[in-house]
Symmetry: C2
Subunit: 283 residues, 2 copies
């Protein structure tokens, strides 16, 4: 039994939103996450949808801003949103830059000093966190999906493609789809993984889709007014890679939308319906 | 023509969310507000629904947290959320306490030194802000309603009851309904209005409803787990006052809900439908 601490709790759309912390063995320190339990979870275990957030976010942005709870309550699925990195690790420089270190774990298992002692976000997301959730909440352990935003969209794509048996479906808002080809990804991968680009490929969605593909249609929404579209996100690279291997992809360019949670909130219902379908909650 | 400055703008639910500042003559300094223009506003003027926020809030909390834009877009009404006080006025002590001064204008016209030079929130809300909105946005000036939360619920109730010709409908989340009987109200009224309680009565919803009433049903949602329910909000006092004068009131106690935006977001759709009905947008 894993010990988790309830930090605070709120009733929301007839369900229960909780903020939690726990001592993570994977990340070797305290980690935080939020869980929204829909009203249906008081009666029986429910499917779980994980949301991975973007650079600078914590575990709370998604629950405060995305407006997802109403749809989770409607369809009867649990939402889980973890923090985006370990914090307060005493790694020198962890708080010095917004795009590496605190708030920027990039969902990889770091192999390089000094990051490797704590920055094991990939294993945390696919192994430890689900165990914590399945042990402590009324979750259906075999009914799980994943989505995310920006850096978290990258995280969702790589977690899903590398673990298709764990995740019934994947979607993303404005994901970093080709981190090996953008400065955010290159900087983070260099620091966390070293300069051997062989190791990077397993964390690059555009590489992975050509190697392993995915068993269901990938949904991506991308705003055309997103300031990071052409430099960092590169959905065209991912689209091309999907085309080459006939990977079903529903890439929707949304005119005029930017990178913010106002964009996410506009299309959150579509994404939750996408997952509810693959989780067997709706037709 | 009033000059307003666009601080930032976001597309949201096919409409436009803008953050604005302007030089207020009423408050004698810069004031800030947000406006959500639904997609219908590109075709024709639309009704306007004002939201007044609670203690410590700024103009942005409502637009970030309440999830109101989706319903404003659906029914075709504009949302306007002003800041809760003047800021940076150089009044000595304006930032020293969270329940008076900055973030705590209480929607009154201050008569006391030093506050009266800037703290004219009542006149700002009912006169200057609507003029700014009607001049700069595609608003139907005669189709206006108002609602709010906590201190802003108090503000909405007094603005509506004192100006029934301006507001077609009023509603509130966990409003301060009898400020003369709670410590928040007494403290603020003493500082802003002086100790002559005659002047307080025109800013107390439970007093006002007995004097002037209101022309349509007042909708109030109140969480039963709200930590401020019995000390500060006192909906029972307002209910009693309404009963005495046969004022139609729909006071809904919502079991287990607290004072947070998670509570507001749960019932925001009901409130917007309430106003959409009185604004002639739905049956």
């Amino acid at each position: 039994m894993t010990n988790i601490n309830l930090v605070s709790e709120y009733k929301c759309f007839d369900g229960k939103l909780g903020f939690y912390s726990h001592l993570s063995t994977t990340c070797n320190g305290e980690m935080r996450f939020t869980v929204y339990q829909p009203p249906q979870a008081t009666q029986k275990p429910v499917p779980v949808l994980y949301f991975l957030s973007g650079l600078t976010c914590t575990e709370d942005n998604f629950m405060i801003k995305a407006g997802a709870q109403q749809w989770a309550a409607k369809y009867g699925l649990m939402l889980v949103a973890p923090d985006t990195s370990p914090r307060n690790t005493d790694i020198v420089g962890e708080n010095e830059q917004w795009d590496v270190g605190t708030g920027a774990g990039f969902y990889v298992d770091a192999t390089e000093i000094p990051w490797r002692s704590h920055y094991q976000m990939y294993s945390y997301i696919i192994q430890e966190l689900p165990t914590v959730i399945n042990t402590n909440f009324p979750a259906q352990p075999n009914q799980t999906s994943i989505f995310g935003h920006s850096m978290g969209g990258h995280g969702a794509l790589i977690c899903a493609m590398r673990n298709p048996q764990l995740y019934k479906s994947v979607s993303a808002f404005a994901p970093i789809t080709a981190p090996m080809q953008c400065s955010w990804g290159q900087k983070a991968f260099n620091l966390y993984l070293g300069n051997n680009q062989e190791k990077w490929q397993m964390y690059d969605a555009s590489q992975l889709v050509q190697k392993v593909g995915y068993h269901s249609t990938i949904l991506i929404d991308q705003g055309t007014a997103d300031q990071f579209l052409t430099d960092q996100l590169l959905p065209n690279v991912f689209e091309q890679a999907c085309t080459e291997v006939n990977q079903p992809l529903n890439l929707r360019y949304q005119p005029g939308y930017d990178h913010s949670y106002y964009f996410i909130s506009t299309f959150i219902a579509d994404h939750i319906r996408h997952h509810a379908k693959y989780l067997g909650l709706i037709e």
